[in-house]
């Protein structure tokens, strides 16, 4: 984390002009630079042409079921929390063709869709989202079978992370061990460069730590000054203040708690509020479930298979022999939460939740995953007392 940063780590200080240079260098090198920008009243991740596309002086109010932008620290480029979309769409496409098949004499021939080409630089990846990328890396490339489509995109991706200096209203990354600083060693974080935005004399500056060789080369090519101890301290203090102001937390023993609560009556309580819309799975930066759709052209001579993001909140998700295994809303919510918080440990040796808070903000009825987890404890305690 930033506390470990010393001026001799190669850290340097960028102003907006230097960031502009960095983006320009990446673009000249053939990267599509993707970053946050204000679109239709939200911060959206999309291609940016330069630093002027970033949401300067904008911050967000996030609450369960509520998201609004408003004016924040003047000129600050990263003064907001997790934007609605995670970064997974740039690595794991929401909808893509896997192959096409053409009828031939007495059969058909299958041709795989070429792998994605082109390099992407992701600018402004928060620590929670950086952890989410590592979780997806594990799912798609480090758990046995490698997904070639994910792997190709990931290998062509450069990541510029940004530590958080203010907590959003629904954030709980500190309790998940995934923020607001880069909790892993920088070298194992998955980032190429790590930025921390802090203010000196009213002007926002970016402390930049090179992580990968490529990140170091890039920083060496922009006009910036070497960081001083004072810069590092100011940046570290800004990150600490974000941790202090974080209002939510996940119960520490949530994995075992959920694991032993699969028949808990509280799932029915959540189901009475849950609309089953799947927003939580769409905005979750680690939800990786997908479906495939097979189709033909109208002549029936060519067919294709597409892969699409899917959600465990649909009835179709668990359908077997004409009916869903998880027919109740309670079973579907439990499936999502139990997989994310408990069963992920058995499958991948860690939690599938990074504490970004998106599922809370974007739930239309404001269901709060931390509150639901805590309710399992409270009711469990009450049940025990009654017996």
């Amino acid at each position: 984390m930033a506390g470990a940063t010393r001026p001799d780590d190669g850290a340097c200080v960028l102003d907006t002009g230097a960031l502009e240079q960095l983006i320009e260098l990446l673009r000249a090198d053939g990267y599509r630079v993707v970053g946050p920008q204000v679109t239709d009243g939200a911060i959206v991740l999309n291609t940016i042409a330069g630093a002027s596309d970033l949401p300067a002086g904008v911050t967000d109010d996030q609450e369960p079921g509520r998201y609004r932008l408003r004016q924040g620290t003047p000129e600050a480029l990263f003064g907001y929390a997790a934007p609605p979309q995670g970064w997974k769409r740039f690595l794991f496409a929401p909808d893509e063709t896997l192959w096409r098949a053409v009828r031939t004499e007495g059969g058909f021939r299958c041709e795989e869709e070429p792998l994605a080409s082109g390099r992407t630089a992701m600018l402004g990846v928060r620590p929670c989202d950086l952890r989410a990328v590592d979780i997806l890396d594990q799912v798609f490339t480090r758990s046995g079978v490698v997904d070639p489509r994910y792997q190709a995109r990931r290998a062509a991706t450069l990541i510029i992370a940004v530590e958080c200096t203010q907590a959003g209203g629904t954030c709980f990354c500190a309790s998940m061990g995934s923020g607001p600083d880069i909790v892993a060693d920088d070298a194992n974080s998955g980032a190429d460069i790590i930025l921390t935005e802090y203010t000196t004399a009213g002007a926002p500056l970016l402390l930049a730590r090179p992580v990968s060789g490529r990140g170091g080369e890039l920083l060496a090519s922009v006009q910036c000054r070497q960081a001083t101890a004072a810069d590092c301290e100011a940046a570290a203090e800004a990150v600490k203040s974000a941790a202090r102001s974080m209002g939510r937390q996940m119960p520490a023993d949530v994995a075992t708690l959920v694991g032993r609560s699969l028949d808990h009556p509280h799932w029915e309580d959540v189901a009475a509020r849950c609309l089953g819309c799947g927003n939580c799975t769409a905005v979750c930066p680690t939800c990786f479930c997908s479906t495939v759709e097979d189709s033909t052209d109208i002549a029936g001579t060519t067919a294709e298979r597409r892969r699409r993001w899917d959600s465990c909140f649909t009835r179709d998700f668990s359908t077997l022999h004409g009916g869903p295994i998880r027919s109740s809303g309670a079973a579907r919510y439990r499936q999502w939460l139990a997989h994310k918080l408990a069963h992920w440990w058995e499958q991948f040796g860690r939690s599938g939740c990074v504490g970004c808070g998106r599922c809370i903000t974007w739930c239309p009825v404001g269901i709060d995953i931390t509150a639901e987890a805590r309710a399992l404890t409270e009711r469990e305690g009450r049940t025990d007392a009654n017996h």
Partner: protein, 287 residues
Amino acid sequence: MAITAPLVQPASHLWSISPWRISHVRRELADTFTLTLDPPADAADAAAAFLPGQFNMLYVFGCGEVPISISGAAGEGGRLKHTIRAVGAVTRALRQLRAGDVVGVRGPFGAGWPIDDTAGSDVVIVAGGIGLAPLRPAVEAILHARERYGRFIVLYGARSPEDILFARDLGRWSSRLDTYVDVTVDRAAGAWRGNVGLVTALIARVGLEAEHTVAFLCGPEAMMRFAVGALAKRGVEAGRTYLSLERNMKCGVGLCGRCQLAGHFVCRDGPVFRLDRIPNVFQVREL
């Protein structure tokens, strides 16, 4: 006893389907049929190395893909049988196909029955309905090396006499002096002179020594839940009980997440599980 490790598919073939030609179609029951499929040359070795209990993803051009367990080998060269009940759009489309038509195949996938690891034990096979399909290659493998096993028992339940799958095979196995076969039906009319009742009744009366016995189960989950209970009553522990589960799946290799069941992916960690690894499956509803 470890469950036989799955074959890992090379990444480049993850999604690509291989065209296999139907060499024979056999009508088994009113709604059930067996396709014998001929692999192309480049898929023959992998097909021939399939493990009893594994499945393939079968694709009908433009219609869709379904996981179907391999119900047997048909001679040399990787020719495989798949026994299918027509219950959905893809399985109904598969039923329209004829010898000479082409089916897309990915696989074989998943962990199979622990055939080698259970050598030396008595083996009880408990199957219900089309659940006999993924168990048939296990029965054949055990009969092929019959001297490596102790007592061998096959218990099968079907809805009615007309729903008894692989009746010829059951008769052939039954005619062997070294194999005990018992069949029951839920209901019968007319000429049926066999057992009527649940397969659990067959478990209750079969002679077995629990400490030497392993059980392989496949059938509807309700049937397996009761069969597991009946076996437990006879002293067959969860650590010696294996069952094949079914879930909605799209990829076959643990990437699409569809078949997630507690801490497992059914496609990759199953479909054959040792019962003590999935203790919740019959206790928690809608898991």
